[in-house]
Every structure is written in structure tokens, then in C-alpha cells.
Symmetry: C2
Subunit: 175 residues, 2 copies
Amino acid sequence: MADRLSPRARQIVAAARELLEKDGADALTMRRLADRLGIRAPSLYKHFPDKAAVEVELIAEGMEELARALEAAEAAGPDDVMAGLGAAYRAYALAHPHLYRLTTSGPLPRDLLPPGLEDRTAMPLVRAVGDADRARAVWAFAHGMVVLELDGRFPPGADLDPAWRAGLTSLTWPA
Amino acid sequence: MADRLSPRARQIVAAARELLEKDGADALTMRRLADRLGIRAPSLYKHFPDKAAVEVELIAEGMEELARALEAAEAAGPDDVMAGLGAAYRAYALAHPHLYRLTTSGPLPRDLLPPGLEDRTAMPLVRAVGDADRARAVWAFAHGMVVLELDGRFPPGADLDPAWRAGLTSLTWPA
DNA sequence: TGTTGACGGCTAACATTGTTAGCCATAAGC
DNA sequence: GCTTATGGCTAACAATGTTAGCCGTCAACA
């Protein structure tokens, strides 16, 4: 870890995360964030250069937690790794929808993220399927499923388990 | 068609689309939109209740064009329908990245959209795969691939054709 | 011990966003 | 010829991110 962030900055990120997770991305506002900490908005700029810098920390948190969740699933289930990874992926996304969105959407400021984090998150999946192209296909499938579910793009009340099963088994067993 | 929109409203939507497609979602601003039409921002509210209403029209345009693109691909290629649909889907998204994002991300105001449009867009895919669950899987895969590509989430310069091929063939041929 | 400087607050202000209130000219319809 | 819809306008408001500049506290160092 060797936190490159000051304790105060850490508090700010924690408050930002609470705001984001509870009330969504629109609620993550510099003034609201400051309120929650009992200070005024401009004071936040003593700790972060801008709002994007706070968000980068949240993105890093989200990615590391997702990595951890996938690694745990990988370690747990020797029976059907792919199903375990898919379930873990979906579970994490549904448990932290706003953080997931922030983490996985929009351009990634790769140079500001802990080096290796992105690769680490991808590794369990790559290990499970071997082929890099197939890994990309599976990752796209999982991300697509989650994002469409979060956005309510599937018919309301639809059971998505069969689609997950169909997708994961098809993509795992090479044609 | 039976345009429920006045001619002036139509002009506004056209200008909005130019703005969106050329300069991105952040550039789609009520004031900038008004500028492009030679009027002031508040005058726009004589034609639309709010900005979201303008965006709904753009969403409808995007969805209908996407539907048309898929229908064309369906009609054109009897050799490998799925590959044709995938190519058409990706091509449309890459040709109109900002419009695609607006159309396919975030909550859908279904009640404000032309009835049947959403189904129509999904139909070519459903026809191609038969099963509804599998259709959802394929749609998630395609959307995921496009969105990850647009966001630059894949390694820069990576050739994505193999991933598309792997995904589409796997998802098409039942396990 | 006294001074310096970093740390971390603060107020005031600015530009930009969506949006509302209210005024006014033009053109059409009865 | 009066009325009314149409479609402009200015002024203004609240909320956003952000900057400039001031000030108190406290630790370190001469």
C-alpha cells in the first residue's frame, strides 16, 4: 500500500465513496462532499487538484475490490471457474452499481492509477480462458450484461440467469 | 412518421445532432445549441420542455438508424448472418460514437419513445439466434465490445476482430 | 525563544450549466 | 379589428467546478 495519500485525503475519499454509493454520481459534488466533512468546498482543493483526482481514487478502489472479488472466486471454485467468475463479477457490480459504473465507464486515466492494477483485475479471467481474444470476448459479455442490467435495458423483471449461463458456457467451450 | 414534431423543433434536433456528433456530449448545451440556430437559449423552451426532451429525439434517431443498419445487414448476407449483424453493429457505433452512447447508455425513457422502436431494433438479432436468452447474451456481448472499444478500455492498437469472431461464433453455435 | 513556513481552513468571486418569469412583436383566425 | 398562438427576447436564479487570496495553528529550527 504505502499510501501516497495523506490521512485527511483518505477521509475525503471515504466520504466521497459514501456519497457516490448512497446517492449516485450526480450527488458526488464538491460542495456536498465538503458538507459531509464539515468544511467548505474550496478547502478540498488543498488535498486534491480537482474533482477528477478524487474520482481516480474511487476508480482505483473499485478496481482493486473487483480484482479481489474475482481472485476469491477463482480460488474458491474448482468445479466451474467461469460460472464462479461470472457470478462474482455480477454480484460485485450489483452490490456497488455507482462505483462499478464510475470504475468501468469512460476513459481510464491509466497513468494516474496504481501500475499493474488493471492487469491484475483482468488476470483471473485470462487464466480461466487462456486465449486473450476469448478473454476479451468474455469480459465484453460480462460488462455488457451488467451495464444493460444496471441501465434497465432488459425487459423489467426478466430472469437474466439463463442469459448469463448461455453466454458463459458458449464463450468458455471453444466452438 | 407523421412527425409529431413541428418543423422548427425538427431543425433544433438536427442542430443538436450536429453538435453532439461533432463535439461530443459535453458540447451539447442549451446555449451552444441556441447559438447554432441564431437564437437565445431560453427560446428553445418554446419548443421542448427541457433538454432531456431534445435528447429523447436524438435517442429515437439513433435507435431507428441502428435498427435500419441491422435490418439491412440481415437482408444482405445469407452466408453468415451473425457476422454481418456484428459488423453492422460495430460499424454504426464507431461511425456515430456519441450518438451511440447517448442511445444505449443510461435509463431509457421508454414511454417517450416511438412504440415498438426498441423491439424493432432487437428483432434482427432475435431472428438470427432464435432463443431469447441467447439473443440477450449476444446483444450484451456486442454492446460490451463496442463500449469498451469506445472508452479505450482495450489495449491501444489491439486488433479486435478476433475477439468479435470468437464471441460471435461461440455465441451463435449452441454448446 | 522568536521566527518561519507548511498545513488546512475560510470568504468572495467567476464562468458555465439548466431553467423560469415575464415582456413583446408578428401573423393568423374569427 | 380584436384576440390569440407562435416564437423570439432580457433578466435572473440556483447549482456546478474552480481560483484567488486571507488567516489561524502548530512544528521545526536558528
